[in-house]
Symmetry: C2
């Protein structure tokens, strides 16, 4: 499919991976999977069996454009957002740009910061979603849930599939525990993973219909005025701004070892573990040490790590900060970030 | 006392403070007390109320001479040993050198790597020991024991003191637990802290009597042949080579908050603790963290340290190594060092 394009959304910020994740080094630029390569790199290269690098567009923040570009296969292009306006302007801008190149563009929109352990199964699911989108119906992928997770949004699917794509009945926000358990029991609820598939022309129609102010700005936008216009676009997600309002939407269930890598705890779960389940740099010395995660960033790479008698810890060593905590407290990284904000040391984030 | 001199023995190596202590950065050059200054610096400056810096001589290894010099008050001098030959040649060399300067030199020999929490009491004890030595009797200080320690040698004292200095009846090696408990119960056993006080001429006589081969080499040694002669001196400690053989030796009991800082555990005990008994760099963020020791060395100084929910850990962060272990495992640093030797990575020690 020469008119197949991928739009990778890589504008994320966030603090759940402090001190590794910072303003200039968000999660997608960190190596949080089994390899030493950034999640963004993994995301792009996972697609190369399906399309040429030149058909990959990464939408990111201006201050991340250079590092994002260097994390990508040669030929991929970068759209640098002058301001963060959530995902609808991001998807819209990419859609308008692709239509200039190819009026028949078939587009997949993917997050840049997820881990996928089974890329073959992933690409098979993409093919089903793309076939559905090629027929003129905007389509999403929903992850087959493995637990009653309360941290994700869900998509309820209908009963009858069209070539593997089901009607998407509704989006639901993060449920409470009891509701999540009901969703799992019902078997027709899937996790919303933020992946969307469409013909560019169909998305343009949808944005015109549901976000007309955004469409108008995208019509006027070009390379010489994007700095002025983009920051004035409405800040709205593609989910609530478009997807939830569509008369027809399809969802393809996917089961390909997906994780959104929500915390250091998840990074440990996904990492390459040694015989004692430590995820540590090569060459580390571990004595009676079990189930620890040690991450080195930047110039800390290559430092010898020695763990003696410690278990279930997260240790993150960057050039300007060192974090030590139990894996079970991974969510409490936010307490550190809050304290730093309190200290008005925002430069350290 | 213008003819009062201090000889500080600073040739130590050792691996108990890995990864901070290395070949080029032994314990005495580390800040292991309450301040950010090396133990050697603290040792020298503690003496300045008693003598001018010019009367301080530091004996160290050749490869440590420059860093030792820069850790000392201006005016102190350094004798750089071409090879490590234990403490008798060290004390002997300094004695012979001081006699060239001042035939009436009164000398105190002190270790460079101990912590003394009460310097006033320490100096009062020194004055008693020096008065005893000035009368022509070689004198030592014995630390009043606070526990049945099996890691130190003991000195048994006699019953009758001469101005605070008791006859030293015998040196005993590190005892077993039961024997150590008997020593404490008896009340006449003191810890050998390696501090010696003498008129230089008395020590010269003692070395001639008990280590004649060493005395002969020291007689021949001068600045142009020290490189050749010193390495051939007998490798023997001043304790076994001289002190234990003296017909008359006195010991002054001392109680001045002494510690030989034997491990990272001791460094935590001696450090400046916060409200939750953490010994951490200024500005650290601690959340539910208790009784931890975090040490930064070299360029790691100034890195933000964040501890969440961890207790009783030792964390040592140097430019080329990061160590994490429970305080209770401090002795097991040797396992790391052994592993490194096994890897033939001796350059990293």
């Amino acid at each position: 499919m020469t008119n197949l394009f991928a739009v990778i959304m890589a504008g994320g910020s966030g603090t759940r991976f402090w001190p590794a994740s910072r303003h200039k080094k968000p999660k997608q630029l960190l190596a949080l999977g089994k390899t030493e390569r950034p999640l963004l790199t993994e995301t792009a290269e996972r697609l190369l069996p399906m399309l040429p690098a030149a058909n990959i567009v990464v939408v990111t923040a201006a201050h991340l454009a250079n590092e994002s570009k260097s994390a990508l296969p040669v030929g991929a292009s970068v759209l640098a957002e002058p301001a963060a306006r959530n995902t609808a302007p991001c998807v819209g801008w990419a859609t308008w740009e692709l239509l200039k190149k190819d009026p028949e563009a078939l587009v997949m929109v993917l997050p840049s910061d997820h881990v996928i352990e089974n890329p073959d199964a992933f690409r098979k699911t993409l093919a089903i979603a793309l076939a559905s989108a090629a027929s003129g119906v905007i389509t999403t992928i929903g992850i087959t849930p493995t637990r009653p997770e309360t941290g994700y949004g869900y998509i309820e699917r209908g009963a009858q599939s069209t070539g593997g794509a089901y009607p998407a009945l509704r989006f639901v926000e993060k449920p409470d525990q009891k509701t999540a358990e009901q969703y799992i029991a019902k078997g027709t609820f899937l996790w919303n993973a933020g992946m969307f598939f469409f013909r560019a022309k169909d998305m343009q129609v949808a944005i015109r219909a549901h976000l007309p102010a955004l469409a108008e700005q995208l019509d006027r936008m070009n390379s010489s005025n994007v700095q002025d216009i983009f920051p004035t676009c409405p800040s709205v997600s593609i989910d609530t701004g478009v997807m939830e309002k569509l008369a027809q939407l399809r969802v393809v269930p996917g089961d390909f070892g997906w994780s959104d890598v929500g915390s250091w705890e998840t990074a440990w779960e996904l990492g390459e573990r040694d015989a004692h389940e430590n995820v540590v740099p090569a060459g580390s010395i571990t004595v009676d040490a079990k189930r620890n995660l040690v991450k080195q960033l930047g110039t800390m790479h290559g430092k010898l790590v020695a763990l003696v008698g410690v278990e279930d810890l997260v240790v993150v060593d960057t050039e300007d900060a060192l974090l030590v905590m139990p894996r079970a407290r991974a969510q409490d990284v936010r307490l550190i970030v809050e304290e730093l904000k309190k200290r008005a040391q925002t430069g350290q984030l």
